[in-house]
Symmetry: none
DNA sequence: CATGAATGAGTCTTCATTCAT
DNA sequence: CATGAATGAAGACTCATTCAT
């Protein structure tokens, strides 16, 4: 009995937490970190002022929570591409699968996508640094991929810093386009198109 | 006489205005729209509080002014690429020249670049909409270029919406990389690399 | 049976109450009335938030309880000094015994002492008035003692209001000093010194 | 002209500052440091919220200002008592004059007096430490006076720590009594009575 | 024109108190 | 009885904007 009701309480708490996180995510996406007010968050979450601080220490803390969660989720979807293992699918297939998984995760949650696209200009939240670190991590992954590609003669020689920046910018641009068209397009098509541009260029 | 002193006054006024705009640009770039305070701006511009409101009606107004100026400058550097006129340089040469001109303008003014890259997330400034409109305008330009390219058989068939979004995202990503490296790289090199990726893709 | 278990319940309740009072006393002494938080009290008392309000109706109420208890304890230690009864010890001996008893009670409970010394400045607690009343009561006692002393020719003629205020102030000052030295000094010595100053003055 | 109007502005600012300090002093005296709210202060001072922060950085800062001013004023009234210079008035006359001056200053400003009597239990204001230091300073002065008195055979041998604590407590008790009687008594009479008790004791 | 003192709506955060479980 | 999640009034502080000089 006791454990049951405690579990129920815990579940309720987790639910509340999710509810606040969702509201905060939406508000941050709408207004940006600075523009978002606790007021807006609690109104959206339909809770009292104090309740917010029962679940999060501060405005920065919710923001951090959101980003941390997103980063963890994204990290879980990112894996090194296996080139040497002959049993593994072809690198391009692996790459495609990963990009689809990532984009699907991001695009699936509009607010989160907006957040990720705009964060970075948010000096006070600690998460901003961690977000930077995360993006650096991703960039390094792409850089290593390019380097490997060059080694095995798959990819053209290029400035990997610039090329990776260009590729990531491309991904961001494409995500924005998907958000803009809001579901009128499947992630799968998007990835095909994007890979085409990225891998083969626009010229015939 | 009157007109002369008026002109002098006008010139002085214009100078003051520029001075405030410059200060504001720096502050906005440093702190973002919300993080920027009138205080910081007037301190940097060495003017009194009231003086600021003599030249701009609000914080949002300066921000708008800065973006409007930037958009006007950029528009002046963007021209349709001439494909039919045989006397004109090759399309790729024209394209390259334009992109170099644009990037040089943006990268030359670090504060402005930072501003443009982050301005999308600044709800209260009206300019935000105009900025959106501006980017749409640019995207349309790119789209038309792609369509023309496809018509004359220069470019691969593709989803022009996505491809243009990808290309613009690429440009933004590359600009960020240039800012990150802060002058350790010339615009010319950047454009070469970027065009390579964009036009031919990363594959060998 | 019922009455027995009720008694047990009552005893348990009383115990809980004491536990909370002790925690509250410590917290009030540490942080002052305003600085003390219900949070700190319940943490120290190891009880749940709601439980606190089962035993006291408000923060002010605990504070009042503490002071009331202290006042009752102190009252029990204060008696009129018997001058006429020849069987009684000499007035100075009686006085000394009482002061020792009072100081010992106060100094023995550091938290309480701190509380009493600072409680005058705690507007919202009702007890503050009662504390004032209590001190007035004590002052009156001292005043009557001085008057009696004057009548029987033991004491110098003086303004009893001022003299009693001075004497009580002295006691408070001395208590503070004892707290400051924290046990490096016995109440007995303190009282000797204090009586010397009070009764004979500092001059030789 | 310019300097005149600037001076006028400065004078006006000084006046405002005084006005706020006075209001704050009254509110702090009424409610204690914690109990005092910026709201209460600005209402009493008849100014807007922001104006307060134009003159003081924080609530603690006003509090500090008040105490610092008081301490400076009091220090200016405290001088070592000259025992060796034969041309100087008798030590007791010097002492009396000083105590009168100090009490007159304190009693003259009811709010300040209340503040000084109750401060010390005000942890967050920096001034609290400085106030402690000030009181320690005064106690040391009294201690040295007692020691000197003992050396030249004027004073009885005694525990100077306790005796000085007793004497200062006495002063505080007497000040409280004067405030209680609110002007129904002159400082001069008070000092006479107090010195009588302090120097000769209450016994005949 | 320029100034800067004054304003007050709005921000984040705390905390005494209540009440459903 | 005990619990602790929920509440919201109230607190300190910021800052874009106005206006008398």
């Amino acid at each position: 009995m006791v454990s049951t009701s405690q579990d129920a309480g815990d579940r309720a708490k987790q639910e509340r937490r999710r509810q606040i996180l969702a509201a905060a995510k939406a508000v941050f996406a709408d207004a940006g970190y600075h523009g978002a007010s606790i007021n807006a968050i609690i109104e959206r979450a339909q809770i009292a002022r104090g309740t917010f601080y029962l679940y999060f220490e501060s405005k920065a803390a919710v923001f951090d929570s959101i980003l941390d969660q997103a980063m963890a989720d994204l990290r879980a979807r990112i894996k090194r591409i296996e080139v040497e293992d002959k049993a593994a699918p072809a690198p391009q297939v692996q790459l495609r699968a990963q990009i689809v998984a990532i984009l699907e995760y991001i695009v699936h949650d509009r607010a989160l996508a907006t957040l990720l696209l705009s964060a970075g200009h948010t000096p006070e939240a600690e998460a901003s640094e961690r977000l930077d670190a995360f993006f650096t991590e991703v960039r390094n992954l792409v850089k290593r991929a390019l380097e490997t590609g060059m080694e095995i003669g798959l990819t053209r020689r290029c400035n990997v810093d610039l090329a990776s920046a260009a590729l990531l910018g491309m991904i961001r641009g494409v995500i924005e386009e998907v958000l803009r068209q809001d579901g009128a397009i499947t992630v799968d098509d998007v990835v095909s198109e994007m890979l085409m541009v990225a891998l083969r260029g626009v010229l015939k």
